[in-house]
């Protein structure tokens, strides 16, 4: 029995939506960067599933082609993401995204600014 005759495209879309919500929730609530990356993967796969399901609904191959693209993108993204993660860990000895959040030039008052023409003195005196 073909599985697609039991599970319709609509079910597939519903599962995709649920997966996407789970992934998003993970990204928003998790502090450990490794789990944030995992949650991102879940979101990507949710999008892929939505493509396949929509393709099945309309009887088009486009959805599956898009899924192949997403697969390739996700692989590349994981490679880069994990590399960055390793570097961050080596630098900070910590993967808590809140703890390592620091933008050095930002204070509570925004960028510590200077006069835009500070030191812009004319070359020679005219007076």
């Amino acid at each position: 029995m073909n599985i697609l005759s039991v599970v319709s495209g609509h079910h597939g879309l519903a599962v995709a939506a649920a997966l996407f919500a789970v992934g998003l929730l993970g990204v928003l609530t998790r502090r450990n960067l490794l789990f944030v990356l995992l949650s991102l993967e879940i979101m990507l796969n949710a999008a892929g599933l939505a493509f396949v399901a929509a393709g099945a609904l309309w009887g088009q191959a486009d959805g599956q082609i898009m899924f192949l693209f997403i697969l390739a993108t996700a692989a590349a993204e994981t490679a880069i993401g994990l590399t960055l993660l390793l570097i961050v860990f080596r630098e900070k000895r910590n993967l808590n995204s809140d703890a390592i959040a620091d933008v050095p030039h930002v204070s509570s008052r925004g960028v510590k600014s200077n006069h835009p023409f500070e030191g812009d003195k004319p070359v020679a005196n005219s007076q």
């Binding site: 998003l24 959040a101 933008v103 960028v111 004319p122 070359v123 020679a124 005196n125 005219s126 007076q127």
Partner: protein, 608 residues
């Protein structure tokens, strides 16, 4: 000879490549040869071509040399092609000849400098770019030259890069002219979209057929071109970069910021004359901006204590006079004044360079004075340049200035105002020119002369001095053909593109005498006043006299335009500060914001 036209930009370009690649490995004498000889050869070729065109004008009065096709896509095609007509000949010959003299003088001025070969490399690149600019057959190639000279200007103003002030001056010049460059690019694309061609001559024919005088399209296109010219030629309100550009070595000021690059705007307006006649409002703007700059620049030059800055304000003022002439359609007179101005102003800068070497690399006039005994030849050269600048009778500047004043007078009733302003400008010019002469060369000597110019510096100065005295005589009846030689030669260039332009009626002999006398009187009065204020009046009192002028300087320096730029910068900074508060570094907040905005966007797309 015409077939060698491509050599004009190619020779200095090759010198640039050689100096840029081998640069530091060449000894200074070798680098000097490589730096000067190709440009001298290019100048020789230019003069040979000019002589040939005078003897036997090419068929149709112009010559076109296509080197290769640059871009080709369906109907759009741009060639790398050069176009030679009287206007291009006058521009190219002036640029090449002045460049040779300036480069020769620079061999002495820059001797011993660490960046000797770098200096000559960039100067040669500049000459190549400037020749591309004046010879370009289409606007895109012209734009390449236009940007090229802008780049060289940046590199040369900041040439002594150890001092951050020089870097700031270079950035200032680059950014301000960039505003104009952008306007030029917009104008070029606008013309391409509306007329379908970038060929300078095809374009003007098409413009005349497509647009009625005063049509919105023509006004917009001409206004863009005017904005580009105003920025490049340091006219009010975009003049702010030129005085600071004096941070560069003096030969740079002589070649780029007096003789050639800053007059690129004059060339652009003259070249696109048809476009401007189709937009009378822009023509009036040109004349107004030019007149205002002439007065403000002249007044500012009167109050300077720095020799080079005084000359820079003088350049602004003289180019303002050219713009005033262009505004009333007198392109011939404007280009003639460009020619004489290129000669006498580069001469003044070279002489100033020798003076600066003599008093120990300083352009402060407080260190100068009484130099006429210790530097007699420099004094003669500077005096010739100042007399030409002041427009004393029978010096070259007299002929070109008188031609412009006559055009301003005969343009119409409203233009008598322009003429009066021009006359006031001539008076101011004579005043500040001789003030410089008296302050630098007369009075008590203040320092011991450290360096006297050798022949390398003397030959260019005295050659240019001879030209500054004699160049105007080609206009005199009987000297070459029957008078108005340059005017007739150039008219061939403008007549063909402006057949419909009605020239104002010839002034009556009585009017001509009145114009000549008033111009002469203004020049002599200015020179006399300069003598009086520097010799007879106590320095304090002289300051009182120039007080109103220094008010103008303040307007120039901290004027409306400057405030507007600052307001833009501060607004950008404030907005940036506010937005920076969102950059907390907390990725979870970023993700939440992203998700929320996406949801809102989707909701808006679905329900609105």
């Amino acid at each position: 000879m015409l077939d060698y036209l491509y050599l004009l930009p190619a020779l200095p370009g090759a010198a640039f490549v050689v100096l840029a690649v081998l640069g530091k490995r060449l000894s200074q004498p070798v680098a000097a040869w490589v730096g000067v000889a190709p440009t001298a050869a290019a100048a020789a070729v230019t003069l040979a071509i000019a002589a040939e065109c005078l003897a036997a004008p090419p068929r149709g009065g112009s010559f076109r040399q296509t080197l290769w096709t640059w871009l080709a896509a369906e109907n759009f095609r741009v060639d790398v092609a050069f176009y030679l007509d009287p206007l291009a000949i006058v521009m190219a010959a002036t640029v090449a000849v002045v460049a040779v003299f300036v480069l020769l003088h620079a061999v002495e001025y820059m001797a011993g400098d660490d960046g000797f070969s770098r200096f000559f490399a960039v100067m040669n690149l500049f000459v190549a770019a400037m020749l591309v600019l004046v010879l370009a057959d289409n606007l895109l190639l012209l734009y390449v030259g236009w940007e090229g000279v802008g780049l060289c200007s940046y590199l040369l103003i900041g040439f002594w890069k150890r001092d951050p002030a020089n870097g700031r001056a270079a950035r200032k010049a680059f950014l301000v002219t960039r505003v104009g460059d952008t306007a030029l690019l917009i104008g070029i694309v606008f013309l391409l979209v509306h007329l379908g061609t970038l060929d300078i001559h095809g374009l003007q024919v098409a413009a005349r057929n497509a647009w009625a005088p005063g049509a919105a399209c023509a006004v917009l296109a001409a206004a863009m071109m005017l904005a580009a010219a105003v920025a490049k030629s340091a006219q009010w309100p975009m003049h702010i970069w030129l005085p600071d550009a004096m941070a560069g070595p003096t030969p740079v000021s002589a070649l780029l910021h007096a003789a050639t690059m800053v007059t690129a705007g004059v060339y652009l307006v003259a070249r696109l004359g048809v476009l401007f006649t189709l937009a009378p409002a822009v023509q009036w703007a040109t004349a107004g901006i030019g007149s205002a700059t002439m007065l403000l620049g002249g007044a500012a030059a009167l109050t300077q204590t720095d020799l080079k800055r005084a000359l820079a304000y003088s350049t602004m003022s003289q180019i303002g006079l050219m713009f005033a002439a262009l505004g009333v359609g007198a392109a011939t007179a404007a280009i003639f004044h460009f020619l004489t101005h290129a000669v006498f102003k580069s001469l003044l800068f070279l002489a100033a360079g020798s003076v600066m070497l003599a008093v120990g690399h300083s352009s402060d006039m407080a260190r100068m004075g009484g130099l006429r005994r210790s530097l007699p030849r420099v004094y003669v050269a500077f005096l010739a340049g100042a007399a030409a600048l002041a427009g004393l009778p029978f010096f070259s500047g007299f002929f070109s200035k008188e031609a412009i004043l006559a055009e301003l007078w005969s343009h119409g009733d409203g233009a008598h105002v322009l003429w009066a302003v021009g006359l006031a400008g001539a008076f101011l010019t004579a005043w500040y020119a001789f003030r410089l002469v008296f302050l630098v060369f007369h009075g008590p000597a203040r320092v011991v002369v450290a360096h006297r110019p050798t022949w390398v510096a003397r030959v260019p100065m005295l050659s240019l001095a001879a030209l500054a005295v004699l160049a105007g005589w080609v206009q005199w009846p009987g000297v070459v053909e029957n008078g108005q030689f340059v005017a007739h030669f150039l008219d061939a260039s403008f007549d063909r593109i402006l057949p419909s332009m009605s020239l104002a009626p010839e002034p009556t002999p009585a009017t001509r005498w009145m114009l000549l006398t008033s111009a002469t009187a203004a020049a002599i009065a200015g020179a006399t006043l300069a003598w009086w204020t520097t010799h007879r009046v106590h320095a304090r009192a002289a300051e009182k006299i120039t007080q109103p002028a220094s008010l103008f300087t303040r307007v120039l320096r901290y004027g409306v335009a400057d405030r507007a730029w600052r307001a833009v910068a501060f607004a950008g900074l404030w907005i940036g500060n506010q937005l920076a508060r969102m950059q907390t570094g907390r990725v979870r907040w970023y993700a939440a914001t992203l998700a929320a905005v996406t949801v809102l966007a989707v909701l808006a797309a679905v329900f609105l």
